[in-house]
């Protein structure tokens, strides 16, 4: 299936590209609410539990992430595989971060999250939740990076 955009966000941070690169990993993980039981399988692959609100319920999602296309300090993507309890739904997502130096030592960030694979019913029921989650995560990342810049 064609990928389906969940959210994208562009903003400028008052820090150099190298500093943003050094911060971004920790910022992402600290901006994901409900991230628990994280296992780093190797330097680019992790597993975790993500406790999130879906249709008014707090649901634990199994999350497996793999960092791909890493081009320090310019960009990287995270391929995410999410699974709901009892295989209720499964989804593949790709989140991309691109960092470009702009004037006066600042850095422009472009964040984009897209669903690459998700069944019809989960899409019908959960796409809105997924969009809200992506948006709030990007907002948290922007806020944290701007705080630290």
């Amino acid at each position: 299936m064609n990928s389906l955009l969940l959210d994208q966000r562009n903003f400028v941070v008052g820090a150099s590209q190298d500093r943003v690169w050094r911060l971004i990993g920790k910022v992402i993980f600290s901006s994901l609410p409900g991230l628990e039981n994280m296992e780093i399988l190797d330097e680019n692959t992790f597993r975790a539990l993500l406790r999130t609100q879906i249709l008014g319920f707090r649901v634990p999602l199994k999350l497996k992430g793999k960092i791909v296309d890493m081009e320090p300090p310019n960009s990287f993507s995270v391929k995410l595989f999410l699974a709901g309890p009892g295989g209720f739904f499964k989804a593949d997502q790709k989140v991309t971060f691109a960092m470009t130096p702009v004037e006066q030592g600042k850095t422009a960030l472009a964040c984009k999250a897209a669903v690459e694979n998700m069944g019809f019913l989960p899409r019908l029921l959960l796409l809105g939740e997924a969009r809200r989650f992506a948006r709030s995560t990007f907002e948290a990342i922007e806020k944290r990076l701007k705080d630290l810049a």
Binding site: R22, L23, I24, G25, K26, V27, I28, F29, S30, L35, E36, N37, M38, E39, I40, L41, D42, E43, N44, T45, A48, L49, I67, M70, P72, F76, D147, L148
Partner: protein
């Protein structure tokens, strides 16, 4: 001390390699490929040593400026020509691995843990630091952790060549002849002493002394030290070389993380944190360091403060104090490296370790203080002061960066930590040709060494250089040993 030459040899080989890790493999394979008949002696039931349980990264610099970097780090404890030789060969570590049938991939982690295992230089401000690049054996997590992939590859090289390995056969003594040439090894096999003739040379690659309490107490700068690595490293090679008059170097050097020591486990567990909600306190509850800024291999330097009045190391053991978010974020010991990696699976939310009493819990600061026998007033002030730093976004005391600050709120947890050796670096002094030297700087004929046994890292240690060095000087030792003319 004179060791008697035996009247009868039990086994005969061209080259005898003592110890089977990465250095031993590189030496044995190189000597074999040069036409030598090679035997590997290994004291443990299986090979691998620290190679199979380390981080698994290999340094492959991207330029000769790496010489300047290492020369600065060595603080003149290692001759420059040895560093130059190392870099010359380390530049080709990737080519050697590919020639041997595997491939490498760049180690490029996103930095999410404390302490951070950096992708490149451990000391980025030093000239030439940009040339430090770490690699590991290409593969996926499903094919094993980097060190498991590395050891699988190396062990396969030995198996493919049919190089004989005698496991559970510790070498006991080197056998020199009247001219001082090392012509064989005495070993112990099934409680019997055996004499093995080495027609060309002996290569020592049997690691350091991180599991020898006496040597550690004698030589290490902080005490006591736990160990994370293989229990097999008990200084055997050092004693063997001392007996025949070899010189030693770098004996007080170490690669040291922090670890938790459970009474029921021989080795310590390497501990790190996946969230910024933690601090370190000394045994009295005083904070003493920028916890996020310690170079991962050099922890002991921050713990080495000695109190002359109390006659103690007040930071040994230390307490790591952390919050609920950090507790839930991930296992404190993640099985990345260390001897316990395959012996115990730490729970992902640390709850099993709380139940075991390894991690202590307090609903309030006062309760936690009483559980770790720290004065409640001291711990309360430590945490309050740290929280004020977090609020201000500036750690006036120790300069912990703003991005690594987060206030600590109860419930709080504590785990007792010790300096924990990955490996020692000291052992026989050697030259750029891997030859073991006597106190006058003369090579002891037909004796070579490589790897952690007398490594070239004499002051500050750059991560991934132990494996890099093992492959480099293992190859050099193997090549030179195979080129020796047989004495018999």
């Amino acid at each position: 001390m004179r060791v008697a030459v035996p009247e009868k040899w039990d086994l005969e080989y061209d080259v005898v390699v003592v110890g089977w890790g990465s250095a031993g493999t590189a030496a044995a394979v190189t000597a074999h490929d040069q036409g030598a008949k090679v035997l590997i002696l290994e004291k443990m039931a299986e090979g691998g040593g620290n190679t199979s349980i380390c981080g698994g990264n290999i340094i492959i610099p991207k330029g000769k400026e790496f010489i300047e970097y290492l020369d600065t780090l060595s603080f003149k404890t290692t001759e420059r020509e040895i560093i130059e030789t190392f870099v010359e060969y380390a530049l080709k570590n990737g080519d050697w691995i590919r020639e041997m049938g595997a491939d490498v991939q760049v180690f490029r982690p996103l930095e999410v843990a404390y302490p951070t295992m950096t992708a490149g230089a451990g000391f980025p401000s030093v000239r030439g630091a940009e040339t430090a690049v770490k690699y590991n054996i290409k593969g996926t997590p499903e094919e094993g952790k980097p060190s498991q992939r590395l050891w699988k590859f190396l062990a396969g090289l030995v198996a493919k060549r049919g190089i004989q390995v005698l496991a559970k056969t510790p070498a006991k003594e080197l056998i020199p002849n009247a001219q001082g040439e090392v012509i064989g090894v005495t070993a112990e096999k099934e409680r019997k002493t055996i004499h093995i003739k080495a027609r060309k040379a002996v290569i020592l690659t049997c690691g350091g002394y991180e599991n020898d309490p006496r040597m550690k107490w004698d030589y290490m700068p902080v005490k006591p030290l736990m160990f994370l690595g293989t229990p097999g490293n008990t200084g055997d090679g050092i004693r063997m070389v001392q007996k025949i008059g070899g010189d030693l170097w770098h004996m007080s050097r170490l690669s040291c993380l922090i670890g938790f020591k459970a009474p029921e486990f021989e080795a310590a567990f390497w501990v790190s944190f996946l969230s910024e909600g933690f601090i370190f306190g000394d045994k009295y509850g005083h904070r003493f360091v920028n916890e996020a800024g310690i170079e991962i291999h050099e922890y002991y330097r921050e713990l080495s403060h000695f109190d002359m009045e109390k006659m103690e190391f007040p930071r040994i053991p230390l307490w790591a104090i952390f919050d609920e978010q950090t507790r839930r974020r991930g296992a404190l010991s993640r099985g990345t490296a260390g001897y316990n990696r395959d012996l115990y699976s730490w729970s992902l939310d640390n709850s099993a370790e709380i139940a075991k009493g390894w991690i202590l819990q307090g609903k309030s600061v006062a309760e936690l203080a009483s559980r770790i026998s720290v004065e409640p007033k001291v711990l309360d002030e430590t945490i309050a002061r740290y929280n004020r730093s977090c609020k201000a976004g500036k750690d006036e005391d120790f300069g912990r960066p703003r991005e690594d600050l987060r206030e600590l709120e109860p419930p709080l947890y504590a785990i007792q930590l010790w300096p924990a050796l990955i490996n020692t670096q000291g052992g026989p002094r050697r030259d750029k040709d891997s030859r073991v030297l006597d106190p006058e700087g003369k090579p002891i004929p037909r004796l070579y060494a490589a790897g952690e046994l007398g490594s070239i890292w004499g002051y500050l240690y750059q991560g991934a250089c132990n494996i890099g060095e093992s492959l480099v000087f293992g190859r050099i030792a193997g090549k030179n040993a195979a080129a020796e003319k047989p004495w018999a």
